[in-house]
């Protein structure tokens, strides 16, 4: 079964390559890293030349760029947003604060490790990373999609209990996100490729 899934037909290879050329990024300024997004999107760095375009609603977006630290209050909204996005979807953690708290390591208000709450495809280290770093990481993501290796999103369906447990720990109780992840998994027959 798993072998069959990992083997891609030539047709799928072509389509993977093509769909890597179009990435829509959710336009959500979660933290201070958002200040480097306008330069990346506009005149000087122009990430649209790689087919990366900002989108305003989660339903249409492919990339959720977490631009920096997440306060607990924002994390709740980010999880809602993440679950509303349609798979395949990728989370890119931007800045040191998503990796291990960064310079807010002793803050009571920010979460320290993003991959406890949602599967992260790529991290960009730095405080803050430059626009070139954003673009190069997106190019890495495009390559992975083209090779059919960008499968981190399946992890959320597979290990949903783990993520939900961590989320509830932070919020201090059950949360209702109104997206039934488990039944989505069955409805759309999502299976993890490598595991």
């Amino acid at each position: 079964m798993s072998e069959k899934l990992t083997q891609r037909t030539a047709w799928n290879r072509v389509l993977d390559k093509l769909s890597g050329r179009s990435l829509w990024m959710l336009h959500y300024c979660t933290g201070c890293g958002a200040i480097e997004l306008p330069p990346t999107m506009t005149g000087r760095f122009d990430m649209e030349r790689f087919g990366i375009h900002p989108m305003v609603t989660p339903r249409q977006a492919d990339i959720l760029l977490i631009t920096g630290y997440l306060s607990v209050k924002t994390l709740k909204r980010v999880i809602l947003t993440y679950e509303q996005m349609q798979s395949p979807k990728w989370v890119v953690g931007f800045g040191s604060c998503t990796i291990n708290g960064g310079m807010y390591w002793n803050s009571y208000a920010t979460v320290k490790s993003l991959d406890q709450y949602m599967p992260v495809e790529l991290y960009i280290a730095g405080c803050m990373p430059r626009p070139e770093a954003i673009i190069s990481s997106f190019n890495e993501l495009i390559d992975r999609i083209g090779r059919g290796e960008a499968n981190s999103w399946k992890d959320y369906y597979e290990n949903y209990d783990f993520y939900r447990k961590n989320q509830e720990h932070v919020f201090g109780g059950p949360i209702n996100t109104r997206t039934d992840v488990k039944s989505d998994k069955e409805t759309f027959r999502i299976q993890s490729a490598g595991k």
Binding site: L26, I35, P39, T42, T57, K73, Q84, Y104, S107
Partner: protein, 386 residues
Amino acid sequence: MSEVLERINRSFDEPEDEHDEVREYTLFIGPNHPGIEGNFALKLSLEGDTIVRAKTDGGYLHRGFEKLMEERLFMQNIAIVCRICVPDPDPNEENYARAVEAIAGIEVPERAKWIRVLVLELSRIASHLFTFGGHAGTIGLYTMPNWSIADRDRILDLFEELTGGRVYHIYNMPGGVRRDFPDGFERRVHEVMDYIESRLPDYDDLFFNNAILRKRAEGIGVLTSDQAIRWGATGPNLRAVGIPADLRRDDTYEVYDKLEFDIPTLTGGDALDRLLVRRKEIEESIRIVRQVVDNIPSGKVWNKQPNPLKWRVPAGDAYVRTESSKGEYAYYMVSDGGQRPYRVHVRGASTTHGVHILENLLVGTRIEDASQVMFSLDACPPEVDR
């Protein structure tokens, strides 16, 4: 959007009277919405298209800076203060450095004072260019952000050359600034200033004189001079109602008293005038930067301070204020004679116009103008949340 989508509020306010049932509904704008400056939310009660009540919802960017500063050494805090206001970080460093200097009685070399003015004014230009991009975005004129934010990058390049950082500079320290100009820096500052000045007529053609902007921004979010004082407006928002109040003049700091500049004012108090005041301020800032680069005295840039790991600042308190691009930016610092500040209170410039004034101005405007009002006030959520 997550707010909008998930808590899509079909829950109309509880009907008091049977027939009134469907007159009012609630709409969440933000925190994930392009028409909002940063990570911030508005909860609007609407009747048809008109806003009858508005509440802001902040705290999405709360990191507890004031608490973090109490747990760090005086020197360590320089690295984190600039993160408080992201688009315009330098007033934070300036305030922090001046507060420590005021408590500890540290002298600053003359050259460092001039360099600080240069950095503050460059930061003001960059921040205003950023705001123009945002404001143009709210009315759908996407050519303007592409131009102005790309031009802002030239200033960021100057910063990078001078301080090593594009966005966060960590450059002002108690006792001076971290390093002197690199070779030929003065010339490059002049080049960038000339370039930005040459671009201003283009911005006028594209944006400030654009018929649609005039039509949409005129008469939107009008603030009268009486309201501005009563609601505590500061900075460009206060100058747009005709009050020439500017901390650079009134509560002068560094070397602003030696420089020639005007304080532009307009009298309309609407969104358009607030925008035009900022546009005029860019010209004044360019003037200041040129004066600084031409007249800067030579000398050292930093008076050496004791070992930062053992540095104790004597007990005392100080309230320092800086005119940032958004308005009055103030720090209240208390030291109890220890190695760490006892308490730092940050009064972000947007705490008045980003919350109270915004809530009041939104009432009576229409939903399509909500984000325009917010951008014209230039509210900066990280300052509110800290």
